[in-house]
Amino acid sequence: MKPVSFDYSVPENSLAVVEHLKNAQGTAKIVAGNQSLGPMLNLRLVRTNALIDVGLLAEVRKCVVNQDNVFIGAGITHAEIEDGDVQDPTNGWMREAAGNIAYRAVRSRGTIGGSLCHADPAADWLIVLTGLKAFAIVQGLSSNRKLPVENFITGPFTNDLKEDEILMGVEVPKPSATAKWGYWKFMRQVGEFAKASAVIYHDEHKQITRCAIGALGRQPLLLHNPEKIFDGTLTPANAIKESLPDRDFAEMTMHVTAIERALSIARNRSEPGK
């Protein structure tokens, strides 16, 4: 269980990274926390000619507080969010989610950007950031682009990055003071990936309601008619049945339960930070 040999480099800035990526023509991989890529390299499930380490790159290690949103660099670790070392735009929701990712050892190294790019269908940030209506900020050789997280994740373990692009960070909008939020995931064991997960986000002031389910073996699914799910006129079971007609009984039951429990958290817990 040793990786094939590869080159390792630590570029000084994001442009150098992009340059490097372009020259490598798809044979290089970006690494930051190395919590998923490392084991996959060791198992030789991933083989690469070069690793480009962005874990210490200042541009992805920063956090910028804007009026309506907060930019969180892709290289910010789960632990830094958990510990409140960077500003949490949601006044605690993201901190709480971060604190339940895997184990502390993984959180100390694993990054929010790495998690999004790796796009494990059961990962926390995929569903949480989708639920929060966050954006991915992507830099290419000549231009930047900004796209909703749900469009950034294109499938299981796949993202929208081109060969010569890098994820710089995520832009998370600040919810209004009266917004409601519930995130719930089912894990049998502490630290494992979720078997089912759901978020519900209801921001009356901004007129946003979102409900997503995760751990589906694909990217998180935004359910139709989230307002009706939130106000109780559409049951979670019916909401799912419509979108996922052919899932097995046990799995469906878990997802339905995940939505119900996320709803109960959202309804019983009020504004951000309370």
Binding site: M1, K2, P3, V4, S5, P39, L43, R44, F186, R188, Q189, V190, G191, E192, F193, K195, F249, A250, E251, T253, M254, V256, T257, E260
Partner: protein, 785 residues
């Protein structure tokens, strides 16, 4: 019973802190992986990607021919053969490297050698093997069907052995009024010691000796096995087990990889190393616990157990392993299913079925974990049928204290114990108040249940038990060698191996008890064939009884010799001398044991004329009074909650009442029980290696193969009973496996207690959320229809 407060600070009964932990806790243990030898080569095996296939061709790429080895290169090396003497046993030979055929995923086919593991894996990547795939035998229930491809071509069906026992069955069931029939299934598991298998082999021209460092539980057996496979005299082989990071049975085996490493070291003249990695472990090492039972329990209207019948299939995998064979597991099923219950009749058929899976290996508890699961669930099914409580039906049918020693229906000789008292204590200690309060506050989506299991653990069983199996290893006398050093310290040499059992401490406690030398001056030497007497090694909960007994016997002889010299030096008679606080004391005077050692080694002119010329070094052998084994036992009681929406099971309270006889070190006993229970919880709720219809193992990393973790375990309350065994030296009983036996049965009974109102019963482990949800859904559909 001994009051825990009366435990001593040293010697037998004291919770002496483990001497070996100083180096372990500081990260200074020395494991095979820590061994660095100049010029050492590393091995990476190309393992079969298929479960069942003929090998058509193996391409050695150009330029690496010297670094690649296939079966045909291993001239004069024999495969591993481990026949059982039981009538009808079908023999198999496990090749060191597969040549014509592969019989399970993960079987070594090609060995690649390089200066480091990564380079060896690079070579392994470049090997191409052409296979002709055959249908895989993946399901033990259909493996014996006519028309199936044969795993071993010379056999008539895919079965190592069938056994059939019947005692008084037809008469016994005449008055049966309650008859319950159940099918039980346990999952294939992967034992998971923290350290994987590991071997370093080196040829020494000066000694004309092959030295093999191996992470093994049984260095002497490995030496014998290596000798047989390599055709090398045993005197030319030394096997050393350095620090070993857990075994549980996974390392109680002669490995094809060990044989290959030994051969390669001789062939190349260079040290060679193979360290199993986690992927190899999970893909080729899922080798235990997979049983299928059809059990019928018969009772009369008062709840008296009349008889049990059982048909058991054990998935024994592709080969018979050395030294335990492919049949130990099934043989155990037939002989221990009735356990401590009285019954009038019994019959049991067993099949040790061959499949295209890794060969079965006894895991902590061997068949007992599955057997306890089957028997204890049948007892609860009878109780439900008869409207009795789980406790009452057990008390009614368990052997009583006054009936000891007890010979049960399969002729097991129970040496001592009070099983009913264990049930009483466990039932009292479990927190029923918690159950009642929680039940009142329970939401509609949660059910609570209570479960019990009781079982015995035969340990340290010897010649008369194992001769019947006729396997390559039959334990006889266990020996120990003691040597008083010139400065008054003591070396204790034993042929067993300590890899978590704490034997460096507990054996020192026994010697200390007999010789009054403090434990810190006693060095227990183990795990090295060059230094220690022959032993079958560490397995079967035997060490504290057998090696402990041997240390005691040798200590007794050494004490006599010390006293003889002391008497001379003190001008007293040997009968007057007692050993206390490191001194030989006469009526009026005393002399330090270190001075006696000094006299023997360095001032022999002070010795009596008739001094024993064998001096202060003693080897003695030991057997228990009868060799049918000590019978420790335990009752496990548990309260669980079941989440009806998620199918998730949580353990709320767990009690173990354990009778280990006389405890040499109560803290070590507790440690054994706690670790065992953790593994048992894994068996009950988490651990499963699924195989698909092509015989592919489906969990290849620890993200898919779920081991129990700290947060899955509740606080576990341990209550000790101490009924001394009449057959062992101090009354101690083997309990090394016990903790791992009881949890699946107790937890499943608790889950079934919780789900009984819904008409749901689960008879398969692990009890996963999807199994619970499926059972709940079928019950609902059943109600609707």
């Amino acid at each position: 019973m001994k009051d825990p407060k009366s435990y001593r600070s040293n010697g037998i009964g004291a919770s002496v802190k483990r001497l070996e932990d100083d180096r372990y806790l500081r990260g200074r243990g020395k494991f095979v992986g820590d061994i660095r030898l100049p010029g050492m080569l590393e091995i990476a095996f190309v393992r079969s990607p298929l479960a069942h296939a003929n090998i058509k061709n193996i391409h050695k790429p150009e330029g690496v021919e010297e670094s690649v080895f296939i079966c045909e290169d291993l001239i004069s090396v024999s495969g591993i053969k481990a026949d059982s003497g039981l009538p009808g046993f079908k023999s198999s030979v496990q090749p060191i490297l597969a040549s014509k055929k592969v019989r399970h995923v993960g079987e070594p086919v090609v060995a690649c050698v390089a200066k480091n593991r990564a380079a060896a894996e690079d070579i392994a990547d470049s090997i191409h093997i052409e296979f002709e795939e055959l249908p895989a035998i993946h399901d033990m229930k259909t493996a014996m069907d006519a028309g199936n491809p044969l795993i071993h071509e010379s056999w008539d069906k895919n079965c190592f052995l069938e056994t059939n026992v019947e005692t008084n069955f037809d008469e016994a069931i005449i008055s049966a009024s309650s008859i319950v029939k159940r099918t039980f299934q346990t999952a294939r598991q992967c034992m998971a010691p923290m350290e994987g298998r590991a071997v370093v082999a080196q040829w020494d021209d000066q000694l004309s000796q092959l030295t093999v460092h191996s992470a093994t539980q049984m260095p002497h057996i490995v030496r014998t096995g290596l000798s047989e496979c390599l055709g090398l005299e045993e005197g030319k082989i030394r096997v050393v087990a350095p620090d070993v990071g857990g075994g549980f049975g996974y390392k109680g085996i002669l490995l094809a990889e060990e044989v290959f490493a030994g051969w390669l070291a001789m062939k190349t003249g260079r040290p060679v190393r193979w360290l199993e990695d986690r992927r190899e472990h999970l893909t080729s090492g899922a080798n235990c616990r997979e049983h299928h039972y059809e059990v019928v329990g018969y009772a009369d209207s008062t709840g008296q157990l009349l008889a049990v019948s059982c048909e058991a299939i054990v998935d024994s995998g592709a080969y018979s392993i050395y030294p335990f064979s492919a049949c130990l597991e099934a043989a155990q099923v037939a002989s221990i299913l009735p356990g401590p219950y009285k019954m009038l009749g019994y019959k049991c058929k067993t099949y040790s079925v061959a499949t295209n899976k890794p060969p079965i290996l006894p895991y902590r508890g061997v068949a007992r974990t599955g057997v306890c699961f089957a028997m204890e669930l049948i007892m609860d099914a009878l109780a439900r049928d008869l409207d009795m409580s789980p406790k009452d039906i057990r008390i009614k049918n368990l052997v009583k204290k006054h009936e000891m020693p007890f010979i049960n229906i399969t002729n097991k000789h129970f040496d001592s114990g009070d099983y009913c008292e264990a049930v009483e204590r466990a039932s009292t200690a479990i927190d029923f108040d918690k159950l009642r309060v929680r039940k009142q506050n329970c939401n509609a989506n949660e059910k609570l249940g209570f479960g019990l299991s009781i079982f015995c653990e035969q340990g340290a069983h010897g010649t008369s038990v194992y001769r019947g199996y006729g396997i390559p290893m039959v334990p006889g006398f266990e020996q120990s060698n003691l040597r008083l050093t010139p400065d008054g310290g003591l070396e204790v040499r034993v042929g067993v191996q300590s890899h978590g059992q704490g034997l460096e401490t507990t054996l020192a406690q026994i010697a200390s008890q007999e010789l009054s030398i403090e434990e810190s001056k006693i060095k227990v030497v183990h795990g090295d064939t060059a230094y220690t007497p022959y032993s079958t090694g560490t397995w079967g909960s035997r060490c504290i009884v057998m090696a402990g007994g041997a240390v005691s016997a040798a200590s007794e002889v050494l004490a006599k010799r010390i006293k003889k010299i002391a008497a001379h030096l003190l001008q007293a008679s040997p009968e007057e001398i007692i050993l206390k606080d490191g001194k030989a004391q006469g009526k009026n005077n005393e002399i330090a044991i270190s001075d006696i050692a000094h006299a023997w080694y360095r001032q022999p002119h002070l010795l009596p004329e008739d001094v024993d010329p064998r001096g202060l070094e003693v080897t003695e052998g030991y057997k228990t009074v009868r060799d049918t084994g000590t019978f420790s036992y335990a009752c496990h009681a548990v309260i669980v909650s079941v989440d009806l929406e998620l199918g998730n099971v949580k353990i709320l309270d767990y009690v173990v009442v354990e009778d280990a006889g006389t405890m040499i070190n109560p803290m070590v006993v507790d440690g054994q029980v706690l670790g065992g229970v953790a593994q048992g919880v894994g068996t009950a709720l988490f651990e499963e290696m699924p195989f698909d219809t092509a015989g592919q193992p489906m969990a290849s990393t620890l993200a898919d193969y779920h081991l129990p973790v700290a947060s899955d375990l509740p606080p576990i309350q341990i209550i000790h009973m101490e009924t001394p065994s009449p057959i062992s030296r101090y009354g101690q009983k083997g309990i090394g496996e016990s903790g791992a036996i009881g949890p699946p049965a107790a937890i499943a009974n608790a889950v079934n207690d919780a789900l009984a109102p819904l008409g749901v019963e689960i008879n398969q482990i692990p009890i996963t959320p999807s199994r619970v949800l499926k059972a709940l859904s079928s019950a609902k559909m059943g109600l609707n229809s």
